[in-house]
Subunit: 837 residues, 2 copies
């Protein structure tokens, strides 16, 4: 949270007993001198120990002071809360002045409640014209709070500018630096270190130098006076001490510095959009069309903390007014410049364990500290090795047993294509120079495999690639039958190329769509079409095909197309069972007798859709039907081996792989694809490598991500999400649905009836809405206005939604740790925004 006028600092202690309350008091007194009446709020969300003890050194007359949870025992709050029992916490509010804040009687010990309370207090203080607030944290940086979470995690969603009270005792250098590091890896900004200057241990001098290297100033305060026997004496001496300290040039300087820091923070944040406009060439942006740039200050869990200049009242041009009255904006209560926005594109499909996850940050730092990056050519390190085995066992694909590392989905797919084309060319005896065009690929219309030239060539000509000078569409793309829910029914659109005219079939349930044994007629129709097409392309036109490439089930970038899984499995089975459609293999080719692939190598581009994005470790698993052994079902989530009949020969994984932290991709391949590249000559090897290949930080984080995903998949974490999708059929029944979504079925059904929508569906973490519009197409303004509305329509937690649109499609995605409660809030807001249309 960040306001223009209200300046808030959170005070953390490097340890208990470092004089946090004394320093806070001095700081409050120093701020009080600049604040108007009631301009300073002192907030102590959690306090332990008897009131008198907690409070006897508060020497700031007239301060507004709030304590949210008070525990009677001077223990770590997680124990104190247990001893006091539920509900025995009470509010301490002794220094309250005339400006009392409401609901002081309410008690609370949960992290969410504490944060909500703090937010409320600060918001009200800001609205009442408050200028300063100090939030004092109980215990040390990582002391447990009432719920058991550590302090720095509890308050992380607020990410307030921080002051750290250093430890001036023996050993305090180490504890102070460690406390800083624990704050820092949780994304906190430390404005200043403050500690007593005890010449006996000399911590100040050392720490000042150390923190200067982090551009953080260190402030020294004189040691507090020794306690006098006579309470009156003690009080007087202490009072003098406070006054001297508060009025010292050191404290005056600190307050000046902190104010300046506040203003430069605001100035930087609010100028970021225009500064970005001046130098950054944004991906996929037409820079000559003005577009609102969101400045993301930080992110935590599902949310960005974002500055949206379009909703900044201070930037709104004053409404011209004939009456001469001040425009409304000037009267509006001050708002935080930062709004939490739900990251509904999961930052381009990357988010799995939530933004700013402290365990992920710590894992990344461990890998950075243990290795940095290390050479991977002819070398190996533990994170890469562990990840290789981990991914293979996660995928449960009996064909895959080799792992190639690259940096992102595009490069991962480039490698996959290089692998497949070589394997096919060897089998069919093709050379590069024959024919007019290179060996091509088979794919689906609407596919997307990345933005490097090689993988752009794997997509049919479209608006994304038509202006790229080196793009050459080298393939044939089938128009796929696709699914969408409309008015409670599932509609399957069969494209015109497959029959006399485009046609539609209706299904009552997803269950019946995935019941492939009952859809033999559809399969036969698909197969006939595939065979006829290949015959025409290969025998009649002499085309050469070297790979079948598919994004299983969902084409996420090419317009969010839910492809009929029966079509994809029929494509695979037809090519595998009738390899003669592709061509005759060269004679005496040892490969043909030993290789484990038939017809064409099948590449599953699971960059968007793999690793639980659609609810399963591998989205290829959705192509298997109940008649295949080992079909996973909602009620039996334990990963089962993918049936070999539909298992791809090559699969590419990225995005969710690294839990949403940084780029890394893995291309997995079968043994016989690997063997294609074996010979006595180095030039036959797959000569591909990037300098940061298998960087340990990415591998270590990916390992952790896969472990966490598997844990959530199997320990019941997602039970509440899956349950509403289970059909009433007895569990264990072979017809039980293999599919479910984080968005509940009742929501999807409701949305499918919404007059503003032309259909919808939900798969795994993804909810897709097709917005009804007259024109439709790429530049739909209806979707754009819905998207804009969602940024400012706040839910009960004060959060908006940051979503992405694709033409007339708007979509919403959760991470794998998003809670059902959060999905409910999201759903409500989406429905509300649609109704406002």
């Amino acid at each position: 949270m960040l306001w223009r006028d209200l300046k808030v600092w959170q005070v953390y202690g490097a340890n208990t007993d470092v004089g946090k309350t004394i320093v806070s008091t001095i700081l409050c007194r120093a701020l009080q001198r600049r604040a108007s009446q009631n301009g300073l709020l002192y907030l102590k969300p959690v306090s332990t120990g008897p009131q008198a003890e907690a409070d006897d050194r508060r020497h700031v007359p007239g301060i507004v002071s709030q304590c949210i949870s008070q525990f009677s025992k001077p223990l770590s709050p997680h124990l104190a809360a247990q001893l006091d029992g539920d509900g025995s916490v009470f509010i301490l509010n002794r220094h309250v002045t005339d400006q009392q804040l409401p609901d002081q009687r309410q008690i609370s010990a949960s992290d969410h409640d504490i944060i909500r309370k703090v937010k409320d207090h600060l918001t009200k203080h800001s609205q009442a014209g408050g200028r300063y607030a100090i939030l004092e944290t109980a215990g040390g940086v990582l002391s447990p709070g009432p719920s058991g979470s550590v302090q720095a995690d509890i308050y992380r969603p607020l990410r307030l500018p921080t002051l750290l009270i250093g430890d001036s005792k023996l050993g305090g250098i180490g504890t102070t630096i460690s406390a800083f590091e624990s704050l820092h890896i949780r994304g906190y900004d430390l404005d200043s270190l403050i500690l007593f200057d005890d010449p006996q241990w000399g911590n100040f001098g050392y720490l000042e130098k150390h923190f200067a290297r982090h551009d953080i100033p260190t402030i020294a305060l004189p040691l507090p006076p020794a306690r006098r026997q006579d309470p009156k004496d003690d009080e007087a001496v202490l009072s003098d001490y406070y006054q001297e300290c508060a009025e010292s040039s050191t404290m005056t300087g600190l307050v000046d510095f902190l104010q300046q820091k506040h203003f430069s923070r605001i100035s930087k944040l609010t100028s970021m959009p225009s500064q970005a406009d001046a130098v950054i060439w944004h991906p996929f942006r037409q820079h000559s069309i003005p577009h609102n740039i969101i400045a993301i200050d930080s992110a935590y869990g599902d949310h960005f903390q974002a500055y949206n200049q379009e909703s900044d009242a201070a930037l709104a041009s004053p409404t011209p007014s004939n009456s001469g009255l001040t425009p409304l904006a000037a009267h509006a209560p001050p708002k935080s410049l930062l709004t939490p926005l739900f990251d509904a594109s999961a930052s381009w499909w990357t988010q799995g364990l939530g933004h700013g996850n402290p365990n992920v940050a710590l894992t990344a730092a461990y890998a950075a500290g243990r290795y940095g990056h290390v050479m991977f050519a002819h070398a190996v390190h533990e994170p890469a090795l562990d990840l290789s085995y981990n991914l293979l066992s996660t995928l449960q694909n009996p064909r895959l047993n080799r792992v190639f590392f690259t940096d992102n989905g595009s490069t991962g797919m480039e490698v996959a294509v290089k692998m497949a084309l070589r394997a096919s060319s060897i089998r069919y005896g093709w050379t590069k120079d024959e024919g007019n065009t290179p060996v091509a690929i088979l794919g689906l219309k609407g596919s997307y495999h990345g933005d490097t030239i090689g993988v752009m060539n794997c997509s049919e000509p479209n608006v994304y690639n038509e202006k790229v000078d080196w793009h050459q569409p080298w393939g044939h793309w089938f128009e796929p039958p696709s699914l969408i829910m409309r008015k409670g029914k599932w509609e399957l659109s069969i494209p015109g190329e497959m029959g006399p005219v485009e046609s539609t079939q209706t299904f009552n349930s997803l269950d019946s769509i995935f019941d492939f044994t009952s859809r033999k007629e559809d399969a036969a129709r698909y197969q006939a079409h595939i065979e006829a097409t290949l015959t025409s392309l290969v025998r009649d036109q002499g085309k050469r095909f070297g790979a079948l490439i598919m994004e299983p089930l969902l084409m996420g970038a090419g317009g969010m197309i839910f492809v009929d899984p029966l079509f994809q499995r029929t494509l695979i089975s037809t090519i595998r069972s009738r390899p003669e459609l592709i061509g005759p293999p060269v004679e005496n080719n040892t490969d043909t007798s030993t290789a484990d692939w038939s017809g064409l190598p099948v590449i599953a581009d699971e960059v968007f859709t793999g690793l639980y994005r659609l609810g399963r470790a591998s989205s290829s698993s959705f192509l298997s039907g109940p008649e295949d052994s080992g079909t996973p079902s909602a009620s039996s989530p334990t990963p089962l081996p993918l049936p070999s009949s539909i298992a791809p020969d090559i699969a590419v994984h990225a995005k969710l792989l690294t839990a949403g932290l940084l780029p890394l991709a893995l291309t997995t391949a079968s043994e016989s694809i690997f063997q294609t590249f074996l010979s006595s000559s180095k030039t036959d090897a797959l000569l591909h490598g990037h300098s940061y290949t298998a960087h340990p930080i990415g591998c270590m984080v990916a390992n952790k991500a896969l472990d966490e995903y598997r844990r959530m998949d199997t320990d019941g974490t997602w039970e509440g999400v899956r349950q509403p999708w289970s059909p009433s059929a007895p569990t264990g029944s072979t017809s039980s649905l293999p599919i479910y979504s984080f968005f509940p079925p009742t929501l999807v059904t409701n949305l499918s009836h919404h007059p503003r929508l032309d259909g919808c569906f939900a798969l795994g973490t993804v909810l897709v809405l097709k917005v009804a519009s007259e024109g439709g197409g790429y530049n739909s303004s209806a979707t754009a206005s819905l998207q804009a509305r969602l940024l400012i329509l706040l839910d009960s937690d004060g959060c908006g939604i940051h979503s992405r649109v694709l033409g007339d499609i708007i979509y919403f995605m959760t991470s794998l740790t998003t809670t059902p409660e959060q999905v409910e809030r999201l759903s409500k807001t989406i429905l509300q925004a649609l109704d406002q249309e």
Copy 2:
């Protein structure tokens, strides 16, 4: 360091006064029960306070005990060392048994010396058949050592398995977790947490749960007995306490666990090469040719800690021996399984600030904690914005003012090519479909721009790309004149295509090569050749060219070719001054009158050679001569603007950009290149983006890297490196050399005379040796055997060299923080290895 038989643990305290010595004593007694006589070494490298105090609780009869530095005052060692003054430290060695270790009188306080001593002690203990060692750290994890460095940094090069003694007092939960985090981000492996179970504060219960989440067991010990008044009583009670604890099932269990951990660590490390062989598809590796796989356990500074199975005596097949004697290996003294290897390829040109740099790790963790990854489309965040401005100001290229983010050098170059081809196609009115082949590029033979298909198409056909089915060489590549030093002289080879025959010129100094004003004749010859070639290609053959692409000065991947900078600058100037050689622009093209480029957009691929790799922020700066304004010189290192005449229109940066941590690339472009993509249609935009585009962790680390590089460039850090390269000419003279190397000129000259070499050169951080061989070419066995020898030829610090070869070239690279002393050790080893040939 890691031995098969000797098990070593380093004991860290979460704080001072947590009972570290008591726990160490208990641990030693527990280990002593399993050790043979003298099998246990207790090492306390630094001790503060009076000997008696430091020692009075040592109750381990018969232990070998060593203390390296003892300070008389019980202060933080960095202060105690100051108080005691230089040389006043002394060795404490009271519990020494009959097995006394040598040089106990030697004193030391520097980090390097401490590490060396610890290594020596442990090595000797291992050689004497020692089974256990405990290294007790003074103070807390981040308490400063004698030199001022914090403990965890001092001992990081050893990266011993660690035991943390937790803080059982109030506040100890937070300090213990923070201490762990500080160890963890420095790459330490914590085997166990040990603390007293004080029921008053309940820290054990909380910490046990917390550390279980990190798979670290927590061990509780009973509180030590209260001190008795009577010293004898006290001694007796304490002795009982030690005995009970040491023999308790808890400690027995811990020792069992630690031993098991040791063996599984060894088993994992030694099996990594074969496990990797089973699943990993290595980059650039012909898997059917057996190759030694190095297992990298960790890395720090310039060195890997690596396991090389080829030098593991235990794996050596016993030499068949007719005499029936045990083979030699069985008698060899035990060696550490891990050898430090200098990372002489800088892990494929990536390393800038050293491996495992704790500040880089902390920076990465901060970005991960503050953001994770966040969406970059229509959004901005501080690290990306700061990095954009930082890079532009670092490059000092007056043409560049736009920054496009991608993930690695390949994708960065793909974007650069897309930019340039579009700009040219618009200017010259070319469409994709005209002609038989797409618009091509101009480049140099021997170039390399990455492994994605698009940028592979920018290199001439060669062994790396000939077998890639979709590779299409779309360009013309000039054979470049190149430089190498032989027998103290610089030889310039002029390729045959430029004259009647291949010819050679000799220069006495680098100075005269870079003195372009004196080389007007060469320039004229180059220009004539370029003009004739272009005329033939464009006018006669109808070729269309859309970009000039070059790696300035050094082609690092294509055989380490030092290109005559005069040829590159002549190529640029010819194309810029004679645009009619490329073709007539379309009429009424507004672009032509406003654009800031002429002829062709010039792309500088500085992925390998930029950002100080060759000693300057931009390697393009080497193409400017003294006659251009603002030529930087060795004596005036402050970055000066690149002269516009040779400045590229597009430049690509990666590798060193992120200090050697993780992938990120930036493509910078001029305003008019950017404007090429502006229109009212979104489809005209540069539709390119990766999901982790501008990931905050990469941007934040890159920002820090650029700051550090600039600091070292300007604050005199590299003065000692530059000085030997300065010509005797008065400083400030315009003829002063713009070039220098981390490898001193005397070394280069010496090497150029070496009979085993056929030439060499050094540029910036890179030393290139051309190994003389009969056959030469890609499979040179002379280079391979030199490379193999360097892995096992250890320097005075016990370190080998891990290098890379390219055919008959072997090269050595430093990071930007490598010290002259390290370079000296490296140089000695290289010369020694050459002499052994």
